[in-house]
């Protein structure tokens, strides 16, 4: 009884809180801090979505920036061609709502295209194992970047300017909450257990009747979808896209978040996304030494805590308050 009530109240409270913060934050926080906050939100979406592939399923994907790029460009083009005219033609609807709908549609479009790309890459290459998959995803990311560089209709090397700034706090953190909830529910479902089984021992999972290839493709497609959504949010936040934002280094950044947080730990990914977004910002005063220190910290963290900050454990409110005990299923 209590839980079913919470099912209705929970999302409502979340949405209300997001709306309230959406109105409040830009007024209270200075623009620089607000920008960092938004980047944290986008990175949380990226890290948790990659965690579905790398952490849950144990597949090496190192081309996440490629999917992000697909989503970013697709959703930006969607808004420029369809969304913006739509917002301009809707007169009766309040502007934030009209822009929100346009953004939502663009994000879905971007996410779907990224998911399609994920399916296209995943289906043949997920039959490969381990490092080979890593290399194919790396190659895919680079190919996407080079193709974008060469297509003039989406700006090529000059970049794509003039994307309307529809990404607000509500949408960025709404997406973050959505991907976290999805990952959490997945971890506790049959499908999630199938993914964990594949990660722990692929041969054993297959022997127990898990259709490994289609589950791997599922994780891959879901990860790509949310990477595309994150790309869309990124595009509508910065209002300018350039292929150089989606290099191999961006993929690495996201992987670092997943590994640092602990493979398969959702809260770990969230914490690591926050830490790794803040760290370069905090080190900004050190100028040239910034990236050197960042690299050193990465190496030292990996040497001292190779399982990541959280391992496979989760931080959960109910765990903290001792209502249900630690969520073992997420391990």
């Amino acid at each position: 009884m209590k839980r079913s009530l919470w099912r209705i109240v929970g999302p409502l409270v979340t949405i209300l809180a997001l709306v309230a913060l959406n109105v409040l934050l830009p007024r209270v926080v200075n623009p620089y801090h607000f920008q960092v906050l938004m980047l944290i939100g986008i990175n949380v979406v990226l890290a948790v979505s990659l965690n579905l592939v790398n952490g849950f399923t144990g597949q090496f994907s190192i081309g996440h920036a490629g999917f992000m790029a697909v989503g970013a460009y697709a959703s930006a083009m969607f808004t420029l061609k369809l969304g913006q005219p739509m917002v301009n033609s809707l007169h009766g609807v309040p502007l934030p709502v009209a822009q929100g709908i346009a953004l939502l549609l663009a994000l879905i479009a971007g996410g779907l295209l990224a998911a399609a790309a994920g399916w296209l890459v995943g289906l043949p290459s997920l039959r490969l194992r381990g490092d080979y998959l890593a290399i194919v995803t790396l190659g895919f990311g680079e190919i996407i970047r080079v193709v974008i560089l060469n297509v003039d209709a989406i700006g090529g090397a000059r970049g794509l300017p003039g994307i309307p700034q529809y990404s607000t706090f509500f949408w960025v953190f709404g997406a973050a909450v959505a991907v976290i909830m999805l990952a959490r529910n997945m971890a506790h479902s049959t499908h999630g257990r199938a993914l964990f089984a594949i990660r722990d021992d692929e041969v054993a999972a297959e022997a127990l009747g898990v259709d490994t290839t289609s589950y791997k493709v599922l994780a891959f497609v879901l990860g790509a979808f949310f990477a595309g959504v994150a790309g869309g949010l990124f595009a509508h936040f910065l209002s300018y896209l350039n292929p150089s934002s989606f290099t191999f280094l961006k993929s690495i950044e996201v992987i670092a978040m997943v590994v640092l947080g602990g493979m398969g730990s959702i809260s770990g990914s969230v914490i690591a996304a926050i830490v790794l977004t803040l760290m370069p910002e905090m080190l900004r005063g050190l100028k040239d030494y910034r990236m050197v220190i960042y690299a050193l910290m990465l190496i030292i963290l990996m040497i001292t805590r190779p399982q990541g900050l959280m391992g496979t454990r989760e931080v959960s409110l109910s765990g903290l308050f001792g209502k249900r005990g630690p969520a073992k299923g997420a391990a």
Binding site: E142, N150, M263, P306
Partner: protein, 300 residues
């Protein structure tokens, strides 16, 4: 036809550089199952050490073959010791950790070398002195080979033959092969696995350094980020040939160099960076273990 032959010559030259870098990747992978992302940066450091070495020996002002050789060897030796330091400080502590942690460590080392390079050498490109004066050699049928290309080819072939001799005919080489088969069994046979791993890193780094100097000879603009893309592509070359397989790395490198030059010449220079990866995906789909790789059945 003569244009095609010319492209082929250029491709083979460029490919032999990839092959040298790919050898380091393939040897380290064969022994540790680690993708050493920092390898491309060792290649960059090789070029920079070469730059400083040619200043010490005044090789730019009064070029002589002996000095050029001295520059090459200095760079190789210094980078070999750099490889030793990297392996001991960064990779050895994570050897028993999950493989993705080791991968992130490698990426960390790569970022460290690149940004450390920016600190030490500055972010703007530097010019490598002309330690060999350029001369063109006519090969007939309109094909031209510069003496720098000739040097690149000769040095690569010599180094590859030396490596082949080292791996196949010396005690250390046999130990390397043993370690790549099975660490445990090798150590039971009295091989110091740690030492062999370090040695492999040193050899790989020396080869990458040689590649760095050879490239700087041809295209003298060097900068701290120059190693990223050639590093990735050389790795792809190693996978192409079958990773862990030494002749495979050489063939993969050559295929890659030729493909790149042909794409640049006949298609569009902007697609040059993509062809490597397209080639990779095609090969992996047809022959998942690479050209020379053996498909290994998984034991349960």
């Amino acid at each position: 036809m003569s244009e095609f032959l010319q492209q082929l010559v250029n491709g083979i030259t460029w490919g032999s550089v990839y092959a040298l870098i790919a050898l380091g990747y393939t040897m380290v992978y064969g022994i540790l199952r680690l993708i050493n992302f920092a390898h491309g940066d060792v290649y960059m450091l090789g070029a920079f050490v070469g730059l400083y070495a040619s200043r010490w020996f005044h090789a730019g002002q009064e070029p002589s073959p002996l000095k050029a050789l001295l520059v090459l060897v200095t760079s190789m030796v210094i980078c070999a010791f750099l490889g030793l330091i990297i392996e001991r400080l960064a990779y050895k502590p994570v050897r028993k950790s999950p493989r993705l942690s080791a991968l992130i460590t490698a990426i960390g080392v790569s970022l460290l070398l690149e940004n450390g390079g920016v600190l030490l050498f500055g972010a703007s490109p530097r010019f490598f002195p002309q330690i060999v004066a350029q001369k063109n050699i006519q090969l007939g049928m309109g094909v031209v080979l510069s003496n720098q290309q000739l040097i690149v080819l000769t040095v690569s072939v010599v180094l590859m033959l030396a490596l082949r001799w080292l791996v196949l005919s010396t005690k250390v080489g046999k130990a390397m092969q043993a370690v790549s088969h099975n660490h445990m069994a090798a150590s039971l046979m009295g091989i110091s696995v740690d030492r062999i791993i370090t040695f492999t890193f040193m050899i790989g780094s020396a080869l990458a350094a040689a590649a760095g100097v050879l490239v700087a000879l041809q295209s003298p603009k060097i900068e701290p980020y120059m190693g990223i893309l050639p590093g990735l592509k050389a790795f792809v070359a190693a996978v192409l040939g079958g990773i862990g397989n030494i002749p495979g790395a050489v063939v993969g490198g050559l295929v890659m160099g030729i493909a790149e030059v042909l794409v640049t010449g006949y298609l569009s220079p902007t697609y040059r960076d993509a062809i490597a990866f397209v080639l990779l995906i095609v090969i992996l789909l047809v022959r998942p273990a690479g050209i020379f790789g053996k498909a290994v059945a998984e034991k349960v």
